[in-house]
Amino acid sequence: MPTRGGTAVVGAAEMVNASGRIPELSQLGLQAGAAIAAMKDAGIGPKDVDGIACVGNPAEVAWYLGMDPPSYVDGTSVGGCSFMLHVRHAVAAIEAGLAKTILVTHGESGKSQLGRAGFGGGRQTMNAQYEGWTGVTGPPSMFTIPVKRYMKETGTTEEHLAAVAVAQREWAGKNPNAVMKDPITVDDVLNSRMIAYPFRLLMCCLVTDGAGALIITSADRAKDFPTKPVYILGTGESVETPMVSQMKDLTRSGAFRVAGPRAMSDAGITHKDVNHLMIYDAFAHLPIYGLEDLGFVGRGEAGPFIAAGNTRPGGKLPLNTNGGGLSYTHSGMYGMYALQESVRQVRGTAAAQVPDVKVAVSHGVGGMFMASGTIVFSNERP
């Protein structure tokens, strides 16, 4: 197990705006823009970075930035939580001496579609052969498939799903960079356009452009940087299945149940230590699954927990305080933006700042319950 707090985020930057569009930058331009901003935050330049991680081609980004050939390269690509895995691998690499200063960067032209390779594979792929032919049209009609089962087994209702969107819109209203800021009600959500029953438009994430980057180094070196270190206490990762229909249990994520508990036990924390929580919300059921699979609530309690206001501003467990993928931004792979909000909350610089955040958990999903990654941050080194 890596040392608790043995590494830290010393640079962080995000490129997200309220229009959801950054039409002047290609995907590579976004990756580089966020990377340069994060390096500037850390007071360093490309020549000071000896490790790189991104989804896509790390060589392209490293060369484009003008880095010297790095001693550590990570191109892990398991969907939107890939950046949690990049952080986890960076922690291990720094502890093992593979690199000293690692850049994790992400940029995605999800809305403008500039310089972006298409999603999906050919007809020969397993997903096409065993799921594609049934009439699926991407995540809104796929990621949502398990939820009817969850609702039947737990008594969770469409009103509970709507309450997730309502709570997060309230957070988004406090965030100038959120795309959707106007308050909404449960009725607004339940009256919005049907996308894939039981999921309506306001239960589905945005599609935007965006970018974000982190600089990670050892805690010992962190004091040499100008920023307040955000220590990494524990990390977790896992994968379950590339096809949502092949989940072992449609009402539980096997990947969540490895990544989350591992991160928290490595961090040496319990649920009551967590002051701030991010759970990747591509759709309204993700925070519900996440709260339950990570053990914050018991079986079937997550919907009522959110509907009762516990995750809203002023609630006892502030959740998705940037507004989340539902209301803040979602460029396709959202995990980086969850990490950025966690880092801001621990630094004390978030738009909707929660008082006295000591321990923040950032939990990501990749694909459709395919993968997961969890990071525990703190402002204190144990």
Binding site: M126, Q129, Y130, E131, W133, T134, G135, V136, T137, S141, M142, T144, I145, P146, V147, K148, R149, Y150, K152, M194, I195, A196, Y197, P198, F199, M243, V244, S245, Q246, M247, L250
Partner: protein, 110 residues
């Protein structure tokens, strides 16, 4: 047709030339019962070309154990008609000489 372990009889899906988790076990094809139940679904309001109107994307649990994604035919594609745990039976749909899709329909006579 499904595959199973010769040793334990445990069925698995999708097919592959080895038993998942223990490649040392011999595997074989066998004739499945065609019986299943409806485990979960969404109704895609905007399906791709080739589909007429909203289509239920249904995870069914085969009597032999594995789950698979399919469509339920001979059935309204509505929440009122698609009832979780309803009994289903195989309704093979021939696309062409090479491809037959494993659709399901509500079981007749239980």
């Amino acid at each position: 047709m499904l595959q199973r372990s010769k040793k334990s009889g445990q069925a698995y899906f999708p097919p592959r030339p080895f038993f998942p988790g223990d490649p040392s076990q011999e595997v074989e094809w066998f004739q499945a019962s065609g019986k299943a139940t409806l485990l979960s679904y969404v109704i895609n309001n905007r399906p791709p070309p080739g589909f007429e109107g909203p289509v239920g994307l249904c995870v069914v649990k085969l009597a032999e154990g594995p789950t698979m994604l399919t469509n339920i035919t001979d059935c309204e594609q509505t929440p009122e008609a698609l009832i979780l745990d309803m009994a289903l039976e195989l309704a093979p749909h021939t696309v062409n000489e090479e491809v037959t899709l494993p659709l399901f329909r509500p079981a007749k006579g239980g």
